[in-house]
């Protein structure tokens, strides 16, 4: 077993520091939004965790393609790691959105395209994890996983499009809103800084978690091989 790399320890510390600074910015640097009040502050992390979710699923799809091309097991480990992180952060994205929506939209949940798409995306990747659980042969598990993760990623924009053809009430903070969007606001420079810094922070959170999860995946693989060796000897 290799010891924990020095660089990873530094990255851990760096990420924690970034996280604390971003928390400070969210609560003390960014001004209170005039109409929505304090609950608007959830926006900074809401978008940032959503961004990590999308980044993870994109990474998983790319890893899937690379696996099918090279048949190298490390890409399979990469894909699972990314999907697991993506599932957690997409859930956080939905949960923080709900907290904001309760006072602003006056409901925890509505069948808006973004909400619908996020939920279906979550279900796709749950299905991916279940598919892997049902297969014992590691090569087949990796192959099927790669195929499904690619199919899933392609279907997400189509799901969004189909849900978008219904009307939407989700605000688009960047770019033009469709008429009927509720809870929109314009950002002051301080808000914009906080927002960018949150994105930056969570990108590092993603990289840090990925690294840890990849290491864990490698260890799990080693354990599996040792078990196999042991059962052959006895």
């Amino acid at each position: 077993m290799q010891p924990k790399p020095k660089a990873l320890t530094y990255l851990d510390i760096f990420t924690v520091v970034l996280f604390l600074i971003s928390l400070g910015m969210v609560f003390f640097y960014a001004p209170m939004e005039a109409v929505m009040g304090n609950v608007q502050r959830v926006f900074y992390y809401h978008v940032a965790v959503g961004w990590v979710g999308m980044l993870s699923f994109l990474a998983a799809a790319i890893a899937g393609i690379l696996y099918l091309r090279s048949k190298d097991r490390k890409w399979d480990q990469f894909a699972v790691a990314a999907v697991e992180i993506g599932v957690v952060f997409t859930f956080l994205n939905i949960a923080t959105g709900s907290i904001w929506a309760r006072p602003i939209w006056n409901t925890w949940w509505t069948w808006d395209p973004r909400l619908t798409t996020a939920t279906i995306m979550e279900l796709i990747y749950f299905a991916y994890l279940m598919l892997r659980q049902g297969i014992e042969d590691p090569d087949r598990r990796a192959r099927f996983g790669a195929v499904y993760v690619i199919l899933g990623f392609i279907s997400v924009p189509l799901t969004f499009l189909s849900a978008r053809l219904f009307r939407t009430i989700h605000p688009v903070v960047f770019g033009t809103n469709q008429p009927g969007a509720e809870g929109d606001f314009t950002m002051t420079p301080e808000m914009f800084h906080t927002f960018l810094f949150s994105l930056f922070t969570f990108t590092f959170v993603f990289i840090d978690l990925m690294w840890h999860r990849l290491r864990l995946g490698r260890f799990a693989d080693q354990v599996e091989q040792l078990k196999l060796k042991f059962s052959q000897h006895s």
């Binding site: 099918l68 279906i120 279900l123 796709i124 749950f126 299905a127 279940m130 598919l131 659980q133 049902g134 297969i135 014992e136 087949r140 192959r143 099927f144 790669a146 195929v147 499904y148 690619i150 199919l151 899933g152 392609i154 279907s155 189509l158 799901t159 499009l161 189909s162 849900a163 053809l165």
Partner: protein
């Protein structure tokens, strides 16, 4: 030419087998009728509700019956070892995919061809509008294109029967939404301009997923 012949051979094999046993079609059909029966009591399909929910009821029925058929059609290949024989044949593997896919499409369309008139009679609604039938075809095509690929994967897992719907439904949601919306549009006689985007979506989905499944099939059968 050999590609077309190989595909046709796989389809002919599936149809011949089904013609003799009729186990797949009869199961799908009875299941479809049962689902409609349950909807009848769950939703109280009186004249007012009928005009708005007919499309939804029909597509849920097709989706459920379809997943039953897909599971069975691939499980049959696996259990009797036919798939190994098929894979040994010196033809392009995608010919096997297209053969199975078109076979499944024929089964699904056959079930629909019986369920639709039955529904028309039971609820005294005219479903025979050319646009609606086109939507039924496009929707079923997209459904079996993804379904055949995923069923091939699902039967090779431990939890196979439970797994297929879980893998399939989140991926075919765009097809189901678009099909329900377009069907509803045609059945209520809404002008073609509002239905067009849904048709485009169906066409895009069908094209993209047939192409992707065609490229991926090799990976799910290689051993």
């Amino acid at each position: 030419m050999t590609f077309v012949r190989a595909t046709a051979a796989v389809i002919a094999k599936d149809l011949a087998g089904e013609f003799r046993s009729r186990e797949l079609l009869s199961a799908m059909l009875i299941f479809a009728v049962l689902v409609i029966l349950i909807f009848n009591f769950a939703l109280e399909l009186d004249i007012k509700t009928r005009s708005t929910v007919t499309a939804g009821v029909l597509w849920v029925t097709f989706a459920f019956a379809g997943s039953l058929g897909l599971n069975r059609s691939m499980a049959m290949e696996k259990d009797r070892g036919c798939i190994d024989g098929l894979l040994l044949a010196p033809v392009d593997r995608s010919a096997i995919y297209f053969g199975k896919m078109i076979g499944n499409l024929v089964f699904m369309l056959s079930v629909e061809a019986i369920v639709l008139p039955l529904y028309s009679i039971l609820y005294n609604t005219n479903l025979f509008k050319i646009g609606f039938l086109g939507v039924v075809f496009l929707g079923s095509l997209g459904y079996v294109a993804v379904g055949t690929l995923l069923a091939t994967m699902a039967v090779q897992t431990r939890t196979r029967d439970v797994l297929l719907p879980i893998l399939l439904f989140p991926l075919v949601i765009p097809v189901l939404i678009a099909s329900v919306k377009a069907s509803m549009g045609y059945l209520q006689g809404i002008e073609a301009e509002t239905i067009r985007p849904w048709l485009n979506l169906l066409l895009v989905y069908d094209t993209v997923f047939i192409a992707v499944a065609f490229m991926m099939f090799d990976f799910v059968v290689e051993e």
